[in-house]
Symmetry: C2
Subunit: 306 residues, 2 copies
């Protein structure tokens, strides 16, 4: 059963790897529910993969282009051309946004199209949307978060088992939480890209990944973790973006958190972001990040008292 | 500096107590930012208080009516009349929604107006919005949360200090977290009303507060808390709404949570809600609830490693 085509919107998909094909399946599965919720039915109008599909033809037949290729080349050129052709764009590409955010935002404004990127940071956790909507009601003072699931998994593993960094990394790789070359995650660079995107959104200021100082977890040892534990603290890789002296400071560093801090109890591959503002005090959002296997938490370990 | 009146939207305010007057001040403070964000400038068109203002006149001169009177009478009649006059309505009134939700939703649909109620549950934490938007992308399986700040403050106080229920309640009253008559909070009834609202939204099914079994915290003792602690568990007043055997189960009960549970570390007067779905696994949102004094957490207790 399909609605009249007048209420359809045509989605062109760039990229059909793990994320692209999962998106493709979910789009078909949820088409009815999306139509019921927003009044427009999504219909896939074309898929561009390496060696298949014609970019110009797909753009021509789409209202919205979804970029799930990753990387800068050819993603940047494709997204820019789609925007200039007057198409709305959704991308999950944090590299693209943290390197070319300004050009892309400017082009989207100029051509009157929307550029959306909820999935670029914190997977299913609607951090981007909540920051964006918070802005209308409140002046954001600070955003900080655990935005890389791989490093949080490794630090949690070191804390729980007393493992060395090397052993915890190997375990993360074995379970699919870390890639064979984990540099981008463990160096803090992936978190820096995400914080650049969040800072740009929260403060409306141009922030390029090259402006974000970062330090990763490669030099942390079992002793650092034991030391934190002894003091009742959690050691986490925290990204922060805040207003300081009329400017904006964005950075990523291993940080000790006291036990009651809203980010202290975020464990495993989970992500979390706290948004602080005088008007709202603070909101924390948490959930599974984008990377790694998606394994639901077991639910049966809560039970009622009587 | 004001925009042309063509881009204004007129807000009629019902109620000018603590919440109403705070809303009034915030509306004026944020008018520019709201105009910049949504393209429409809010302008207060009238205020109805006990003994001042004419309801019909205010509705006549408003595009949107904000109900912050609380209680059922005359709030229900006012909101219904505003909807029937074709006005959008925003209310923070959980009693109203948990008693008369069905009639109000039906009237809003019939008259083509929006009925919004983000602040009715969990204060500034955008639980309503995230549930609503999650629905388009995912089938929600369960929503559970700590939705009453007063009882969470009391339980946190008992846990931290070993105080009895009576002493912790007295402390909560002294600090402004509990009212002189705390029955609605400590009995679990306030949480039941909020869970009725969340369940209705998450599952699209009519849920009246009278359908929600609840138990409060009045019978919990320092021994219960000590017992939980001994086992490494947190004792929380948890509301849950879930799909069970083709139906929906909604309830509020004191619950033991294992230490890694996303709600276990939610302390003081904070609220938190977890949304579970196979597609998203889970998202948790937390922040200060609506009740009690608004005291920002001290920030200086995080620090960088180098």
């Amino acid at each position: 059963m399909t609605s009249p085509s007048s209420s359809a919107f045509r989605v062109g998909l760039l990229g059909h790897g793990t994320v692209g094909s999962a998106f493709h399946a979910l789009l078909e599965e949820r088409a009815e529910a999306i139509a019921a919720s927003v009044g427009l039915r999504p219909e896939l109008s074309g898929v561009l993969t390496r060696g298949r599909g014609d970019f110009d033809d797909i753009v021509e037949r789409s209202d919205l282009v979804v970029e799930l290729m990753g990387g800068l080349d050819p993603a940047y050129e494709h997204v820019m051309r789609a925007i200039r052709a007057g198409r709305h764009v959704v991308t999950a590409n944090k590299q693209l946004l943290s390197h070319h955010g300004e050009e892309l935002y400017a082009a989207a404004r100029e051509h009157g199209v929307q550029l959306r990127f909820e999935a670029a940071v914190c997977g299913v956790v609607p951090v981007i949307r909540v920051i964006h909507e918070t802005l209308a009601a409140a002046h954001i003072q600070r955003v900080h978060g655990i935005v890389n699931g791989t490093t949080n998994f490794i630090l949690s593993e070191m804390t729980t088992t007393g493992a060395s960094y090397e052993d915890a990394l190997a375990e993360a790789q074995r379970l699919g939480y870390a890639e064979a070359d984990p540099t981008d995650d463990v160096s803090g660079r992936d978190a820096a890209a995400k914080m650049a995107i969040l800072a740009r959104l929260a403060f409306g200021a141009p922030v390029h990944i090259d402006h974000v100082p970062y330090e990763g977890i490669e030099n942390l040892s079992a002793e650092d973790i034991a030391y934190a534990r002894e003091l009742g603290l959690s050691l986490k890789l925290v990204g922060s973006a805040e207003r300081v002296d009329g400017g904006i400071a964005v950075r990523v560093f291993p940080t000790f958190l006291y036990a009651q801090h809203p980010l202290a109890a975020v464990n495993g591959s989970f992500n979390a972001v706290t948004i602080e503002s005088p008007a709202i005090t603070e909101i924390t959002l948490s959930g599974p990040g984008a990377g790694g296997p998606r394994r639901p938490r077991r639910c049966s370990a809560t039970w009622c008292r009587r």
